[in-house]
């Protein structure tokens, strides 16, 4: 609490009659004396004041939108500079955070509920005061509840956007009817051998293997069948892509005709004029991204920045830039013209149409499955 607020509270108590005049003046005098005594040391203390907050995200248009709509107005109002960094992958970023000093990294635009759980497991979470983030009232409860299932007594992040990893296909070679008929199994269809792609992420591979073997992705009973489906896909695939840019390049250059893909990236390809279709098969992989505050960060300053980032103007600009719907509830906020047309957008605000990964189930098996996938990928 700053001094101004202390004096205001003192004055309020005096006006309410909780303090007599003598005691009020005495406390003011004591405060003045204390200020005078500590002033020489205050300059040193200033060095400890929050002067900057670091934000790490995916870069590109998202960073530009954040800079314009959130960071600059935030700096103008608080005097706190926002240093924005970028990362190419959540795993790599977590490795950086783990090897850093506390406070070095502050807010990160993380993927999925997995990352939230992983950061909590590594005790990298903080306790946010949601009262300091009034714009949280505009966020869909369904997204926040996913985090609350991991940390029931507190939140260390605010939801920011969501999307799906569905099927992306080249319409010149695969019709809309065919993709609807075959669904996830098209990724193991020998007819497209050498023209199939896939994300190198073990979770996505297993998720789609579950769909290909008619199993629930959040409760795979026959693991052998799932691994066999991954082997089939591996043998038919030309390439496992590792980034959104690579996914777009492979589809745009017609190196591959079908792959699973991120809804926003496919929307971007469609915007560029490529005839790429996007289809979410039943139980398609839904996910959300959040703004996570990392342990050791100046929490109050971060909360204020999060509120700026959740402002509808900022959220909508970022969403339109990256083609992923924002976490804001469409029934509470006017999201404009473009967002309702984005893939995966849920106008109900409940997200009941999407299937999200159960973090407990997936993170509980992460150690075993990620290692097994590494072997299966290489022919074992």
């Amino acid at each position: 609490m700053d001094n101004t607020k202390r004096y205001e509270r003192l004055l309020e108590r005096y006006r309410n009659g909780d303090l007599d005049r003598r005691r009020f003046l005495g406390l003011l005098g004591a405060a003045g004396l204390a200020y005078g005594v500590q002033t020489p040391f205050a300059r040193m203390a200033l060095a400890q004041e929050v002067q900057q907050v670091r934000f790490d995200g995916w870069g590109g248009v998202v960073s530009e939108a954040f800079r314009r709509y959130a960071f600059d107005p935030y700096t103008e109002e608080t005097g706190i500079t926002v240093v924005d960094g970028t990362f190419s992958g959540g795993d790599e970023y977590l490795a950086q955070v783990r090897s850093s000093q506390e406070g070095e990294y502050n807010i990160a635009h993380l993927s999925g509920v997995f990352d939230y759980a992983r950061y909590v497991n590594f005790e990298l979470d903080v306790e946010l005061n949601i009262d300091n983030i009034p714009n949280m009232s505009l966020v869909m409860d369904a997204l926040t509840n996913a985090f609350r299932s991991i940390t029931p007594d507190h939140l260390s992040a605010v939801p920011y956007n969501y999307g799906t990893t569905g099927l992306a296909y080249n319409r010149a070679h695969i019709s809309d009817e065919e993709i609807r008929e075959k669904g996830a199994s098209i990724l193991i269809d020998p007819a497209y051998e050498g023209k199939i792609g896939g994300w190198s992420d073990w979770r996505t591979r297993l998720w789609y293997a579950a769909l290909q073997t008619d199993q629930s992705p959040n409760d795979i009973q026959d693991m052998d069948a799932a691994w066999d489906a991954i082997r089939s896909h591996r043998d038919l695939a030309l390439k496992y892509w590792g980034s959104g840019a690579e996914l777009m390049s492979l589809l745009a250059e017609e190196e591959i005709y079908v792959t699973e893909g991120w809804s926003g990236r496919i929307a971007a390809l469609q915007e560029q004029g490529h005839d790429i279709g996007y289809y979410d098969p039943p139980n398609s992989f839904g996910w959300q991204e959040c703004l996570f505050v990392i342990k050791g960060s100046p929490v109050e300053a971060c909360e204020e920045l999060l509120n700026f980032m959740l402002e509808p103007e900022t959220s909508i600009a970022v969403a339109e830039g990256q083609n992923y719907p924002p976490a804001l509830d469409g029934t509470k906020v006017d999201l404009g013209d473009k967002i309702p047309t984005l893939p995966a957008y849920d106008p109900s605000g409940t997200l009941e149409a999407l299937t999200f990964a159960d973090p407990e189930y997936w993170n509980g098996n992460e150690a075993e499955w990620s290692e097994t996938f590494s072997r299966v990928q290489r022919g074992f």
Binding site: G89, L94, R118, L238, K239, Y240, E253, E255, S374
Partner: protein, 288 residues
């Protein structure tokens, strides 16, 4: 202090900044990696501190790691041989060229000015379905649909050769440049043909450079992970990719440490064998 004692101390004083840097930036991190390799990764993520041999046991006995290690060494060996076959004539030509030697050396160094990743990715634009080669072949009517040339072991080796060839050429060049050309003339005057003088005089004398280039190419090739990631298919991986996956994807730093130490030991042994027979001086010559 006597003059003798001062003279003894002087090299150490001069070396101390470099030794300090090597200690802090190489030895200390290496010790951390060794220590880490004996820890364990818990099911929830955080590491379990202690002395456990599990990571070393699986690194040394698991056939999966052996398979990838042998595959890595195979790819590195093929790359080295190709680099030697392509690099030797190039280095010979540069050494024997009189007027434009500096220009040729400059051209050789030119790729180093461009990022290795960009150089690797450039093959996608050359060999891709809509890349230069396919476009040309289709435009002259030789093929009707693109040939699939990318994302296999051959393109991984191609990318590595592209990356490592300058190292090989430079090493051989340094070696050839140091050979007295009168020796070849002497051999010719004694009745040897040009080919014989090359085989019996020049080639044996340039072998240390060839070996140094070979070692550099092999070690750098065996340690790479970007090339298979960009130009390889789903199954193409080298040992460094497993280290990357263990540390970054699986967050299993202890296993990743054991794997990286294993690779270091294998490559370190090769360097030690090279040093035993040829000495490290040739290697430093080649590095300029």
């Amino acid at each position: 202090m006597s003059v003798e004692a001062r003279e003894k101390r002087q090299p150490w004083i001069l070396l101390s900044p470099a030794l300090g840097a090597v200690t802090m930036l190489l030895l200390v991190p290496l010790i951390f990696i060794v220590v880490y390799s004996f820890w364990l990764r818990s099911a929830t993520g955080p590491d379990v501190v202690g002395f456990h041999l599990d990571n070393w046991e699986s690194t040394l006995t698991d056939p999966f790691y052996r398979f990838i290690l042998f595959n890595t060494l195979k790819i590195a060996a093929i790359t080295t041989v190709i680099c030697a076959l392509l690099g030797y004539p190039a280095a010979y030509f540069i050494t024997r060229s009189s007027g434009n030697k500096m220009l040729l050396l400059l051209l050789l160094m030119l790729p180093f000015w461009i990022s290795y990743i960009i150089r690797t990715m450039s093959w996608i634009n050359i060999l891709g379905s809509s890349g230069a080669v396919n476009t040309f072949l289709m435009s002259i009517g030789l093929i009707s649909s693109p040939i699939q040339m990318l994302y296999n072991e051959v393109t991984v080796i191609l990318g590595l050769v592209h990356f490592l060839l300058p190292f090989m050429v430079l090493n051989i060049y340094v070696s050839l440049d140091g050979i007295d050309t009168n020796l070849e003339d002497a051999a010719t005057s004694l009745g040897a043909t040009r080919w014989q003088s090359f085989l019996q005089v020049t080639l044996p004398l340039s072998l240390p450079g060839l070996a140094a280039g070979g070692l550099l190419c092999f070690v750098l090739g065996a340690g790479t992970y970007i090339t298979p990631l960009v130009l390889g298919g789903p199954q193409d991986a080298m040992f460094a990719n497993l280290v990357f996956e263990a540390i970054i994807t699986q967050l299993n730093w202890p296993l990743g440490s054991a794997l990286s130490m294993a690779l270091l030991l294998v490559l370190g042994s090769l360097v030690a064998i090279y040093n035993r027979f040829l000495g490290m001086s040739q290697l430093t010559k080649g590095l300029g």
